[in-house]
């Protein structure tokens, strides 16, 4: 029974994995990748690690892949042109890496033979939420904290990249409600095609950012 399920999910994972690289349409590749993640989650459940399985689905299939699919849909990425492959010199490298990978798998199959255990025969609480939490906050506290600092750095970095103030022109103008008006409509001295926005929540904040003091009077003008 377990062997059948393993063959099913492992086959699905490999099939979806092949589809990820074989598909020409980026959205199909993304969907195949979701399939890989879900099959792997099923395998984790069979290995008595339900917490990892749930996190795999929530984080990878449910959050990261949603973003990936979102971007593919937003940019409307077209089907990749099936042209002459450009990076031909990488083929021998790929073959070498594949050979190493196969050698590793073979090594594991040979050397771990004696320690094979039936996952259902020995009930263990290693994969359960409680034991993972206890270990994370006691024995592995330092790596855990370092990882969280790394994530914090990534968040701060993303924020800094996203809101670089220097890129915006000082006289750009935005109307709250996400309507961007050409600057020439409000300022007769501006260049006629300056549409770049400035970040602001309210009209008053936008006016302050732009250095316009008599904003209320200006809006009454037209």
């Amino acid at each position: 029974m377990l062997a059948l399920l393993f063959i099913l999910f492992a086959g699905l994972a490999i099939g979806c994995g092949l589809a990820v690289v074989a598909q020409r349409n980026p959205l199909y590749s993304a969907i195949s990748l979701i399939g890989v993640f879900i099959s792997l989650a099923c395998l984790y459940v069979m290995l008595a690690a339900p917490f990892i399985a749930a996190v795999q689905v929530i984080v990878y299939a449910g959050a990261i892949m949603v973003l990936v699919v979102f971007v593919i849909m937003l940019l409307n990425v077209e089907q990749e042109e099936r042209g002459r492959p450009r990076l031909k010199f990488l083929v021998p490298v790929a073959v070498a890496l594949a050979a190493i990978l196969i050698a590793e798998v073979a090594f594991i199959l040979v050397s771990v033979q004696e320690f094979r255990v039936n996952p259902t025969s020995a009930p263990s609480d290693v994969g359960l939420t409680h034991s993972i939490g206890a270990q994370l906050f006691t024995r592995y506290l330092l790596p855990f904290e370092i990882t969280s600092i790394l994530l914090l750095m990534a968040i701060v970095g993303a924020m800094t990249l996203a809101r670089r103030g220097g890129l915006l022109p000082p006289n750009a103008r935005v109307v709250p409600g996400a309507q961007v008006l050409p600057l020439s409509m409000v300022d007769p001295n501006a260049e006629p095609d300056d549409l770049r926005p400035v970040e602001a929540d309210t009209s008053d904040e936008a006016a302050r950012t732009l250095g316009i003091t008599d904003f209320r009077n200006q809006s009454k003008r037209d």
Partner: protein
């Protein structure tokens, strides 16, 4: 042989649970139309059967008999797959909820739990499957080859990403108090104080955040931007007709039902009926039956709140939706975690 019997029993349980839930969902649709009629000063459907009780079946028949139109330039496979993903993800969460306590079947020695599957990570399972459900809507929007559908799908995914965080954070308070992710254990914990030890008493803030985020997750008014009729025709399901449309419709109402179930399980004591254990002994058939009915009743109250909101609130604008989710709900949810930790520190026995 034992495994075969086990699997057969589970299949029977799943069939029963799905039938009951789908019936309730079908009548939620009718209730929605009648209550909306009441709110808007009109009657609503009342002609099929007494007071309209057969209306859900008439609707179903209509959906089956309608012509199934597939747009010429759609991406066929994904177009067919999308409603299936939406409905399956909505139904799959059903199996971990405890519908009632263990009950003894009368005249036999058999005791059965009213849960289909109980495992260590029940809550994470629910969150994981819910996050898969959004693909149904996104892929429907993309594969229809229609700009309104695509806009609906994009809006839906952006909304899901934003509100899933607040939703998860709002539940952490309850998890901290219960000390487990097993939904059955969470409900057992709330049996204290004669079944009135409900977590909403200690987590009012978390509950309100959950309620708001859950409405956004199910794309209901006032967060129904993915299908905003005034701007997007019908949003992501513009190009869907007949039974495929019915599947999306069904998925939406099943999702309503499951988030109500989660709210009841985590915040309102699950199947615990207050002070019932003073009258009846725990483990008897009657106790189990009344508890299960109490669970369904609480869910129905939440469903009514949903319909009520739909009848009374206008729709958000998209920038308001995003600002509200990221700049208000998420910080407040984090504050709730902090407050809960303080509470547990000073009153560890709550």
């Amino acid at each position: 042989m034992d495994t075969a019997i086990d699997i057969a029993l589970k299949l029977v349980a799943i069939t029963v649970a799905f039938t009951v839930v789908l019936l309730i969902v079908a009548y939620t649709v009718l209730a929605e139309r009648r209550v909306l009629g009441l709110i808007q000063g009109r009657l609503g459907p009342n002609r099929v059967g007494y007071g309209g009780v057969l209306q859900p079946f008439a609707d179903l028949l209509k959906f089956i008999l309608k012509e199934d139109i597939v747009p010429d330039k759609s991406t066929r496979f994904i177009y067919f797959l999308a409603p299936v993903i939406a409905t399956m993800a909505a139904l799959m969460t059903m199996i971990v909820y405890p519908f009632g306590p263990e009950i003894a079947i009368p005249f036999t020695n058999i005791t059965i739990p009213l849960t289909i599957a109980r495992f260590d990570i029940g809550l994470l399972y629910v969150l994981g499957i819910t996050s898969i459900g959004v693909y149904g809507i996104m892929l429907a929007g993309w594969s229809s080859n229609n700009k309104y559908s695509l806009m609906g799908g994009l809006r839906s995914s952006a909304q899901m990403i934003s509100y899933e965080l607040a939703l998860g954070m709002s539940l952490i308070g309850v998890i901290m108090m219960a000390g487990t992710l097993d939904l059955g254990q969470v409900v057992e914990n709330q049996s204290a104080w004669h079944g009135t030890h409900w977590y909403v008493l200690f987590q009012p803030l978390g509950f309100i955040i959950y309620l708001i985020a859950a409405i956004a997750e199910t794309n209901r008014v006032p967060f129904d931007l993915p299908e905003a009729e005034t701007e997007l025709v019908a949003g992501f399901h513009t190009e869907y007709s007949a039974m495929k449309f019915a599947l999306f419709f069904l998925a939406e109402y099943i999702n309503m039902f499951t988030v109500s179930m989660l709210a009841t399980t985590l915040f309102f004591g699950g199947w615990n009926v207050p002070f019932l254990d003073l009258i009846l002994a725990r483990g008897t058939f009657l106790f189990g039956l009344i508890s299960a009915l109490g669970f369904i009743f609480k869910i129905c109250v939440f469903l009514f709140i949903y319909i009520w909101l739909r009848g009374t609130l206008p729709r958000f604008r998209f920038d308001q939706l995003m600002n509200f989710g990221w700049k208000f709900l998420l910080p407040v949810a984090l504050l709730n975690i902090f407050l809960t930790a303080t509470l547990i520190y000073f009153f560890p026995n709550l």
